[in-house]
Symmetry: C2
Subunit: 206 residues, 2 copies
Amino acid sequence: MNILYVYAHPNPESLNHLLKQQAADLFTAENIEVSYSDLYSDHFNAVASWHDFSSEMQQLQYMLAQQKAYEENKLTTDIKSEIKKITAANHIILQFPLWWFSTPAILKGWLDRVLVKGFAYDTGKIFDAGLLKGKTASLTVTTQSSESAYQIQGVHHATIDTFLHHIQHTLRFTGIEMLPPYVIYGAVDAERKKKEYKDYLRNIIS
Amino acid sequence: MNILYVYAHPNPESLNHLLKQQAADLFTAENIEVSYSDLYSDHFNAVASWHDFSSEMQQLQYMLAQQKAYEENKLTTDIKSEIKKITAANHIILQFPLWWFSTPAILKGWLDRVLVKGFAYDTGKIFDAGLLKGKTASLTVTTQSSESAYQIQGVHHATIDTFLHHIQHTLRFTGIEMLPPYVIYGAVDAERKKKEYKDYLRNIIS
């Protein structure tokens, strides 16, 4: 088993950081091969643009320019490095706080820049025929609101699944199978969650 | 009427750019007051972090640090400038290409960094009681896939509303009322869309 752990939280004092540390301890204890993309600490560039490849692709649509750059080995080093990690991984974990009912921008930028046409999907090669078929992924998410807010009857009039859908749909589009997410709602007892998260991860790696 | 037009597309040769130009021409012709936030051309910083305010807020959660910085007038100039534009606006238009079923990261970063607690919402001051109540907003969106893909029976098994929901929910959370979006699916005749988009905008400003 080879895991890619993509982590997007700015605060090393956070519950998110603690969870990531717990995951790392477990993977070490269980001898699981794992790569980390700690987007904040790596100062990952969030903004997809023509700086991602050579200037001669200037006039193409960004997505088509990405594909051409991938095929001609002209993507920037940071993108190539993420592509290499995804290629090696059997399972990808995205861990992030839910900000405005989605990922933090830095993680959205990772999806925008790294899931390149020609690498992750292609014309007619999406979903069940996606180029990343065979891999699995899961989301580890913390929310500000309590669990009661994420109910049809709650303040958001929807469960968390509604808000995670566009992220899971993105990964599914490339052929990746989504495992159930791990969600921590509101403020919680961090010590209790440490154990619970390890049990959750054990299910993924077993 | 005062409009804030937030625009997130990297390519000045794009259909998106053409649409923005059409909007600008219409607003000029109709004497509508409008501010533009052209996120790519402004090199808007997409990544929420402690660089957004003074270092003494280091240990707080990002959202709480935002609120404190807002109250103490310690937000960075770029964020203060956007807050000023939102304050002045009656209507906010977000124009973007749908990338991975959401906004480009640079626009997500605008939401993350600018919709500050204490300014846009507060404890108990959300949705109908949100601090931006009285304003309206709308989304102008282009998609790669055709309209037939965005159907329950289509390849995405959902309409575009499903994917725009988390963005609209974000603005609604602050009390903003969402007007119907303007969506251009797939490749289209740009000339035809120019007129259609102007008609759509006329409904907003009338």
